[in-house]
Amino acid sequence: MTSIPVSGTSVIPKVTVSPEALSRTRVLVLLGTTLFLALAMYYFIGVDEGMTSVFGKTMMIHEWVHDSRHFLGFPCH
């Protein structure tokens, strides 16, 4: 994207996009991905291997985060 022809104007503005720019779609993808990862973290710290389990009925994650799960206010076991 170097120039945008605009009808009705004689002067065509030259638009330079800085290399760190993100498009609208990329912004949405970035925000969506972040939100998804954060919610997944919330889920694995607070819920997994308690009421439901994603990777089968082991108790590895549950036991690992056991103390923090209690302390953060989640129902644990």
């Binding site: 760190e20 720019a21 990862l37 954060a38 009421m51 923090s68 206010g73 129902p75």
Partner: protein, 304 residues
């Protein structure tokens, strides 16, 4: 800009998580150890009672990681992970609102953290407070999980609606009355929700267990004193336990209070610290003079 703001949010949460770990290690772990000691003694007594009465004995929970691992790296990863996740979510919401209000970044960061603290923790906590180990029946975990998450979801939605309502009304009625109206509009459905959702002790699975040793009928799942629930005496370790006789005390009220109080302070610490750090980082980030390019102006416009 977006990625940098998200990273700053996550970093703030990470630092807050480390602080929370230090706090939890000093204040929560001694309380958790007391609760676990109570639970072990209780389980031992229950096993003996059930054996003496010829009833099935509950199996022990798994011990995959030692208490040392759970109370150090396990505790740290959980708290830091929670801090990072919440920091990232706050950053995402900040980005969505950025440029749409006249609120300065550090005030916005504090507002968002206050919203998160209330919606994610405190409002659900009012109905279903945090419990130390030893409290919580394993056979109700699914129901309790659903109820807790429902409470979290409903709190966030109701709070968001109240904020929106206050925002819409503030031009007409002024900030004070608009806030008051929004608060009332929030409290009515929230109180109804608290009244409608069941107390954990009233769950049907818990009511069904009332004939078992150690499951006396109560409003919560907090362990009640263990008594001989049979109409005949039992003999344990050569001692005769008469019907109705107390064998083991209920859960220590002071331990429970301390655990919940520290749990609340811990959340306050996580949200408070991360919002202050995030706010400071944001102010620095947006004040730093960068070479202005038309591209930046475009992105600012695209973002509203």
């Amino acid at each position: 800009m977006e990625l940098r703001v998200i990273l700053r949010g996550a970093l703030s949460g990470l630092i807050a998580g480390v602080l929370a770990f230090v706090f939890a290690k000093i204040f929560a772990e001694p309380v958790i150890n007391k609760a676990i000691a109570y639970e072990s003694g209780r389980d031992a007594i229950l096993d003996k009672l059930n054996k003496a009465a010829g009833r099935p004995v509950a199996p022990d929970g798994p011990e995959i990681f030692s208490r040392h691992v759970q109370s150090t790296v396990g505790l740290a990863s959980g708290l830091i992970g929670f801090g990072v996740a919440m920091g990232a979510i706050v950053a995402v919401v900040y980005l969505v609102l950025h440029g749409r209000t006249t609120i300065r970044p550090r005030v916005m960061a504090i507002c968002l953290a206050a919203f998160g603290f209330l919606g994610v923790f405190l409002l659900p906590f009012v109905k279903y407070p945090a419990n130390p180990p030893a409290i919580g029946h394993s056979f109700t975990i699914t129901t309790r999980g659903h109820l807790y998450l429902a409470m979290v979801g409903a709190s966030i939605v109701l709070l968001a609606l109240a904020v929106y309502l206050g925002y819409r009304l503030h031009r007409r009625f002024g900030v004070f009355y608009a806030s008051l109206m929004a608060a009332v509009a929030f409290l009515i459905p929230y109180c109804v929700l608290i009244g409608v959702l069941p107390s954990l002790g009233d769950l049907s699975a818990n009511v069904a267990h009332r004939g078992q040793f150690g499951y006396a009928r109560a409003a919560t799942e907090t362990p009640q004193p263990i008594t001989n629930v049979l109409s005949t005496p039992l003999v344990i370790n050569g001692k005769t336990i008469a019907p109705g006789q107390l064998v083991y005390p209920g859960f220590d009220a002071d331990v429970l209070w301390k655990f919940r109080w520290y749990s609340l302070l811990n959340q306050l610490l996580i949200w408070g610290a991360s919002s202050l750090i995030f706010g400071a980082l944001l102010e620095r980030f947006f004040r730093t003079p960068r070479t202005p390019s038309p591209g930046q102006a475009d992105r600012a416009a695209a973002f509203g």
